[in-house]
């Protein structure tokens, strides 16, 4: 049990009028799974579009894919897997009521997320310097390969939407970390850590599919 806690509830679950804390815990977790289902379908639309365009322009997609840097993409894959590992350990620490460890593991997770975004920034910059971006007039001209445009349009939509999720995840994890630092969690109450971690794992799950599709097979 944490001895110093800035939080008024100090490790106790919030008092709810409409349900007991056990039910609240399961409902919160189930709610997140439900939300993750809609997230999979949100990305699913893009995966479907990618599948169709790849089928239509098989040759061009595999050539366009070679423009992407496998080493940077691969490094980012490893960064996200390690971040997922850290957030899983944060949940484990929360289940044992160790707020200090929750706070450190969440910090490592957030640092991995920041590393991911920095690498992504360098990747986007490289594409920008090669003129491979939709706002470039040359990129939009008719003599620029239509299939190339489709590939990079999908690349930016898919990795961009994913990057927004990374940023949202960072904000959520920072907020949970602040709660952990205030000594909010205990063996009896750690719902936000577990639910926040579920969201973070989804960010990893999506990238697990994005990496081979965009960088490896195109």
């Amino acid at each position: 049990m944490s001895t110093q806690c800035a939080d008024s509830l100090c490790g106790e679950p919030p008092k709810l009028h409409h349900m007991d804390s056990d039910t609240a815990y399961h409902a919160a977790k189930f709610g997140m799974w439900l939300f993750l289902a809609t997230e999979i379908l949100l990305f699913g639309g893009l995966f479907c579009a990618f599948a169709l365009y790849r089928w239509m322009y098989l040759e061009e997609f595999s050539r366009a894919s070679e423009e992407l840097n496998v080493w940077l993409g691969g490094t980012n894959t490893i960064v996200l897997i390690v971040s997922s590992f850290f957030v899983a350990l944060a949940v484990d620490a929360a289940q044992k009521g160790n707020n200090k460890k929750v706070s450190s593991y969440l910090l490592y997770t957030i640092l991995c997320a920041a590393t991911f975004l920095v690498i992504k920034y360098f990747e986007y910059s490289a594409k920008y310097h090669h003129g491979l971006f939709p706002a470039n007039p040359e990129f939009n001209s008719p003599d620029f390969n239509k299939a190339y445009r489709s590939f990079f349009g999908l690349y930016y939509c898919m990795t961009g939407l994913h990057a927004i999720h990374v940023m949202a995840g960072m904000v959520i994890l920072l907020w949970i970390r602040a709660k952990a630092k205030a000594g909010r969690f205990s063996e009896k109450y750690y719902t936000p850590v577990e639910v926040g971690a579920l969201y973070w794992h989804l960010v990893d799950l999506i990238w697990i599919y994005l990496f081979p599709l965009l960088y490896l097979v195109g």
């Binding site: 056990d22 815990y25 977790k29 189930f30 799974w33 439900l34 993750l36 289902a37 809609t38 999979i40 379908l41 699913g44 639309g45 995966f47 479907c48 599948a51 169709l52 089928w55 496998v70 691969g74 894959t77 490893i78 897997i81 390690v82 997922s84 590992f85 957030v87 899983a88 350990l89 949940v91 484990d92 289940q95 044992k96 063996e187 750690y190 577990e194 971690a197 579920l198 794992h201 990893d204 799950l205 697990i208 599919y209 990496f211 081979p212 599709l213 490896l216 097979v217």
Partner: protein
């Protein structure tokens, strides 16, 4: 304290080695998927890449996300979007090749 083993009402606590083994498996599969992509297998490249990605996704879901220890309802909602996505992609591929 005497109730320490009875945590059935709360989430599952897994030993550290489970998380660590999953991490190692995920890193190994990442290296394998990059290595396999360097070999030209034709159409099989994408099949292998998707199979490896799905194995990784399953490891993350089952152990990192504790899906293995969740109830049937959670399992249902975890897999229904996968089913719907397969339906969507199949629908598009049944339709598109037959358009004029």
């Amino acid at each position: 304290m005497e109730n320490k083993t009875d945590n059935s009402h709360m989430g599952h606590i897994l030993p550290f080695r489970v998380y660590f083994s999953v991490l190692l498996a995920l890193l190994a599969l990442t290296i394998i998927t990059v290595a396999v992509s360097r070999v030209d297998l034709g159409t099989w490249n994408i099949v292998v890449a998707l199979l490896i990605a799905s194995a990784k996704a399953l490891l993350v879901a089952l152990f990192f996300m504790h899906l293995k220890y969740e109830d049937k309802l959670t399992w249902f909602y975890a897999f229904i979007p996968v089913f719907l996505l397969i339906l969507l992609i199949s629908g598009v591929f049944i339709d598109n090749p037959f358009r004029g």
